[in-house]
């Protein structure tokens, strides 16, 4: 087969990434017990993101997707594993080098009410990255800020430049956050639930803006969400996380047409569909998500899985390529 497409390079590569948080012990516990227990938020995760794609980490709360996102941009320190960015190993970088890295990788946060400094005007907040990295000052900076504010739909930009966050709505604040993250023209953006806290009618606007920036600036996104419906709309590839591990990873279409992991299947069947007539075939899951401190043995999903076998409680399944570009971590896949 003749490939007319260039082989996409990997802009981000994550290998066996772990992030554990030690659990605070009470004074008595510190005296009497030796062992530390950990919240294993991210427990050995491996994947790569191809240049120009939108890669989604999806899952319920506590699955580790948000933590993984923060570790990748080095807002948190990895416990172990490797992170490669643009071919370079950034796992061990410290201080100034990480700061310089910020020109190339940026983050958009979930809560538009918390991610902007209440005391900074919109213009200052959006222009601040340029100032920090010495890329533009004075009139040049102002022009760049006006330009990007216009692009995110905050028009007329001259009016918005002098406003404070509390004068804006949630949707407008998130646009400011988006503007701030793209003004440096980074290559890679991690978007952590960027639309979960925004009104439904405004979500599409933000998502469309993200997509148009991707086209204009050649961006790659790591999109983190619990909303699979949004994931379906925006992603190229999706990885489903459960309790710190990836259980399924594939192209978007494959995930919805042919979900293989029992957890993915249950998850998809639970998503509400705006159709009153539809008969739901819901896959019932027993129990709830266990704590990340006390992870079940073997396959961490086995206590809730209706297909479990003995092997499932003993041995942890590996993430294997079961079909072309479709990875599943389940003993039943053979």
């Amino acid at each position: 087969m003749v490939r007319k497409v260039f082989v996409l390079s990997e802009i981000v590569k994550v290998e066996k990434l772990k992030k554990y948080f030690p659990v605070q012990k009470s004074f008595l516990e510190q005296l009497f017990t030796r062992e530390l227990s950990y919240v294993k938020a991210v427990d050995e995760v491996t994947f790569s993101i191809r240049s120009g794609e939108i890669f989604t980490l999806a899952g319920e709360s506590g699955c580790g997707k948000t933590t993984a996102g923060r570790v990748i941009v080095r807002l948190l320190e990895p416990t172990s594993g490797k992170i490669h960015f643009n071919g370079a190993d950034i796992t061990q970088l410290k201080g100034e080098k990480i700061r310089l890295l910020r020109r190339r990788m940026q983050m958009i946060f979930q809560d538009p009410y918390a991610s902007l400094n209440p005391r900074m005007k919109v213009g200052d907040a959006v222009g601040h990255p340029l100032e920090i990295h010495g890329l533009a000052k004075g009139e040049e900076k102002r022009k760049a800020v006006l330009d990007v504010l216009d692009k995110v739909g905050l028009t007329p930009p001259e009016q918005f430049i002098n406003l404070h966050p509390h004068q804006l709505s949630g949707g407008q604040r998130q646009r400011v956050a988006l503007a701030r993250s793209v003004i440096l023209k980074p290559g890679f953006i991690v978007a952590d639930e960027p639309v979960s806290m925004i009104d439904v009618s405004l979500r599409t606007t933000i998502i469309d803006l993200m997509l148009s920036f991707r086209k204009e600036l050649g961006l790659t996104y790591l999109f983190i969400t619990h909303d699979l419906a949004v994931a379906k709309y925006i992603s190229n590839r999706i990885a489903i996380m459960y309790l710190g591990k990836i259980v399924e990873m594939c192209q978007k279409e494959s995930l919805f047409l042919n979900p293989m992991h029992p957890y993915t299947q249950a998850l998809l069947s639970a998503i509400p569909v705006p159709n009153p007539k539809r008969e739901r075939k819901r896959i019932e899951l027993t129990g709830e998500i266990p704590s990340a401190i006390d992870i079940p043995t073997g396959c961490r999903f086995h206590p809730r899985c209706s297909y479990r076998t003995d092997k499932c409680s003993e041995k942890e399944p590996q993430l294997i390529e079961v079909e072309k570009d479709h990875f599943v971590a389940c003993h039943l896949m053979k």
Partner: protein, 294 residues
């Protein structure tokens, strides 16, 4: 910005700011009332010496302890000095001492609190320990001790009072920084690559300022009372300068003989000044806190 521009921008923000206070309910009125009182006191202190009818230090042996009359509306002291003139001229020491002590507190307590809480670690633990130790002592005791060491004079008084109140600034700043440090917009600042001092001064500090203002005003009120207290026990300024605190001391001795005016008028002034600052502080605290909660 040029001087005129600065003045204009401060005024431009001041007037709408003050008028908006009227709409903020009882707390807003508290602040306005406080500002009025303080401004009035400051004005009295500044122009007092110019409008005083008599020389406040001039003694008149035959006019001692005269009750309020037309010639001496607030009566005379045990040395025959005109009380009204002494009242008009006696505020400046108190204001100077308090203002200076608040300034010193601010310049030491705030940066220390900022750095200590942001940096954390051993430095923070040690600073907190020292500060808490100072905080544990009753304010007046420390002020007396240090004042006795340093001696008299405006500056020394200010310094001894300052030491008492530095812990308040430190603690308030520290608790604010600790909570703000965890907020998303600070994380976002790290995310765009800001250096630690940029984060501290442009993201953390501006959001700490409201609480500092509240502490400062209450501090001012407290400093005035402590200054009066120090002077009362004789650790304050020298005898010839008219001073409300001094008059409190002398007035106290003559209260039992019926000369109520010697202690009452300076006492009222001290209370009024302290009240003014307290109203501002409490009012601001109420105005700012509900906003913070929301």
């Amino acid at each position: 910005m040029t001087k005129t521009k600065v003045k204009r921008s401060i005024l431009a923000r001041l007037i709408p700011g003050l008028t908006s206070l009227t709409k903020r309910g009882p707390s807003g009125w508290m602040v306005i009332l406080g500002i009025i009182i303080v401004t009035a006191m400051v004005v009295v202190t500044v122009i007092g010496p110019w409008i005083a009818p008599h020389d406040p230090a001039k003694t008149n042996a035959h006019l001692i302890r005269k009750p309020p009359s037309f010639q001496f509306p607030m009566g005379t002291t045990h040395l025959g000095q005109d009380m009204l003139s002494r009242i008009l001229c006696g505020g400046s020491i108190m204001l100077q001492v308090s203002a200076l002590s608040v300034l010193v507190c601010f310049l030491i307590g705030v940066p220390l609190g900022l750095f200590s809480s942001y940096v954390g670690g051993i430095f923070d633990k040690v600073s907190s320990l020292v500060i808490d130790a100072i905080y544990a002592f009753p304010g007046l005791v420390i002020a007396i001790a240090i004042s006795a060491m340093l001696g008299r004079g405006v500056v020394n008084m200010a310094l001894s009072i300052a030491v008492v109140y530095i812990p308040s600034y430190f603690r308030v700043v520290r608790s604010q920084v600790l909570s703000i440090k965890e907020l998303t917009y600070v994380e976002a600042a790290r995310g765009i690559g800001a250096k630690w001092y940029t984060i501290l001064f442009r993201y953390v500090f501006p959001n700490v300022i409201p609480s500092i203002v509240v502490v400062a005003t209450i501090n001012f009120a407290d400093a005035i009372l402590t200054a009066a207290g120090l002077t009362f026990i004789g650790l304050g300024v020298t005898i010839d300068i008219p001073d409300w605190g001094r008059d409190l001391t002398s007035g106290w001795q003559y209260l039992s003989s019926g000369a109520w005016w010697i202690i009452t008028f300076p006492g009222l002034m001290v209370i009024l000044l302290a009240l003014g600052f307290t109203l501002i502080g409490e009012g601001l605290s109420e105005l700012l806190n509900p906003k913070l909660q929301r």
